[in-house]
Amino acid sequence: MTGRVLRSGLLAAALVLAVALPFTVSNFRMFQFTQVFIYAIAVLGLNILIGFNGQFSLGHSAFYAIGAYTAAIMIDRWSVPYGWTIPTAGVLCLVAGFLFGIPALRLEGLYLALATFALALSVPQILKYFENWTGGSQGIVLTKPGAPAGIPLNPDQWLYFLTLAILLVLFVLARNLLAGRTGRAIVAIRDNPIAAEAMGVNTALYKSLTFGVSAAYTGVAGALSAIVIAYVAPDAFDVFLSITFLVAVVVGGLASITGAIFGALFIQFVPNWAQDISKAAPWAIYGVLLIGFMYAVPRGIVGGLRLAAARWSRRREPAPATESSRG
């Protein structure tokens, strides 16, 4: 009971902080947080797939790219208002993810990882190949949209709040999805696919759908990134981006919605710190920080927090019986 009150309090405090932030920090710092929110959406999408559904993907940079290029091409070629490009990117990635999820059904674990990995690898090459649409290696330059008339915000502040709003909506949606019947089916498939099937869960449909939803989140994030950065280029969407998302999922905490925020903060800011510590070999520092982090909280930040909370409440109450005994 106290735990829930505490959590609501923390959430409210975080929201207040997030709203106050653009008026207290530099434009650059605020831009970094916009980036964090975008990452968080993508990371949540990937976590729905890996953490909740137990399917593995190293290919989410591909969906991020599809989202980004959808937005860029629609704005640049067809002059579509940017607001429309975000849901379009989401829907397009939902379909793409769902379709990719169907053949992926036959693959498990590592084999699925390779299939998605191949997808991620081929995307930059394919983007360069269809030069007429994508601008080849040069990419597409966009103009940053300003705030709608009557809202006294500069473009960066406007995009910050827009991203924050989309993030909140998507997080609440994910929470409702995962807390309900559908969520139980998704998790049941992860924990025991055969039992889930036996209980009447249409495993194939749910797995493909989860893939679609996961891709849709990542696609929306990709579209937002194209709008916020006002530039897309093929090499920004390489396999390393997929791996970065995976790092964020694990660092934040598998199967945790709030974990996505922590993971996004990590991938946005830790490389910068590493840069500050050593200009010569920043990635070596990043690697050391990453490994040290995994030692400290092997189940991610939220996993660590949950463990600490369990220990704390255990000291006050008798222990719950968590595991059954064996004969």
Binding site: R314, A319, P320, A321, T322, E323, S324, S325, R326, G327
Partner: protein, 236 residues
């Protein structure tokens, strides 16, 4: 004569759940001792606790030496061979390789002689020695597991539910062989079993445990006559 294995106040837990609540029992040198109990009573955990495979508290002495808290890998070197629940067969290795692994801890000296000896007890393994263990029947795999344990030249053999999932005839055969081994090789045996009637016929001494505590103990013949044991565990 001091007992070969002596356990006092053994406690064990999985996570936060305590499974054993201060178990005390002993195994006589050269004897067969059995621990009986229903599903979930803590029989398997007892063996796992003796072998350092779960978090434990309490005193365990083997041959007068304290062994509580020793690493599982070391126990076989002291002379304790554990034939685990579910047989622990290396299913992708051949029968012969499984047996070689049994002798791993003592460096494999006299491997040929030992193998010849276990083949005497289990002729079927001799026939199948080049087959992968996974292709063996359940009974044959149980025989292989006991044989693997013997390859370590143990002084104490821990057997965890050797009857599990096997046909009655096969079980009787395996129990007969265990008795022969016990007599001929002077290997002491600690047997954990759900099949109380068979176990009580084989063993000289028996303990009955319920929810992690010893509720009754004594010579096997006595327990067999006991009214409660008969009703609850022997079913007549």
């Amino acid at each position: 004569m001091a007992p070969l294995l002596e356990v006092r106040g053994l406690e064990a837990q999985y996570g936060w759940t305590k499974v054993l609540h201060g178990l005390t029992f002993s195994v006589e040198e050269g004897g067969i001792t059995t621990i009986l109990g229903a599903n979930g009573a803590g029989k398997t955990t007892t063996l796992r606790a003796v072998c350092g495979m779960v978090r434990t508290r309490g005193e365990v002495t083997f041959d007068g030496r304290p062994i509580a808290g020793r690493a599982t890998e070391d126990l076989v070197r002291l002379g304790i061979a554990h034939v685990p629940e579910g047989r622990g067969t290396f299913v992708n290795l051949t029968v012969e390789e499984n047996l070689r692994l049994g002798a791993y801890a003592r460096g494999g000296a006299g491997l040929g002689d030992d193998m010849a000896r276990v083949f005497q007890y289990f002729p079927v393994l001799m026939e199948r020695r080049r087959q992968t263990a996974g292709t063996l029947s359940g009974g044959e795999q149980q025989m292989l597991a006991v044989a693997r344990g013997l390859m370590a030249r143990p002084r104490l053999l821990l057997l965890d539910e050797p009857s599990l999932g096997l046909a009655p005839l096969v079980v009787r055969e395996i129990f007969r062989i265990v008795r022969t081994i016990n007599r001929e090789q002077r290997v002491s045996v600690l047997l954990v079993e759900q099949n109380a009637s068979l176990a009580l016929r084989l063993a000289s001494h028996a303990y009955l445990i319920e929810t992690g505590r010893v509720v009754m103990s004594g010579p096997a013949a006595e327990l067999r006559e006991n009214e409660t044991v008969r009703r609850a565990y022997l079913g007549y």
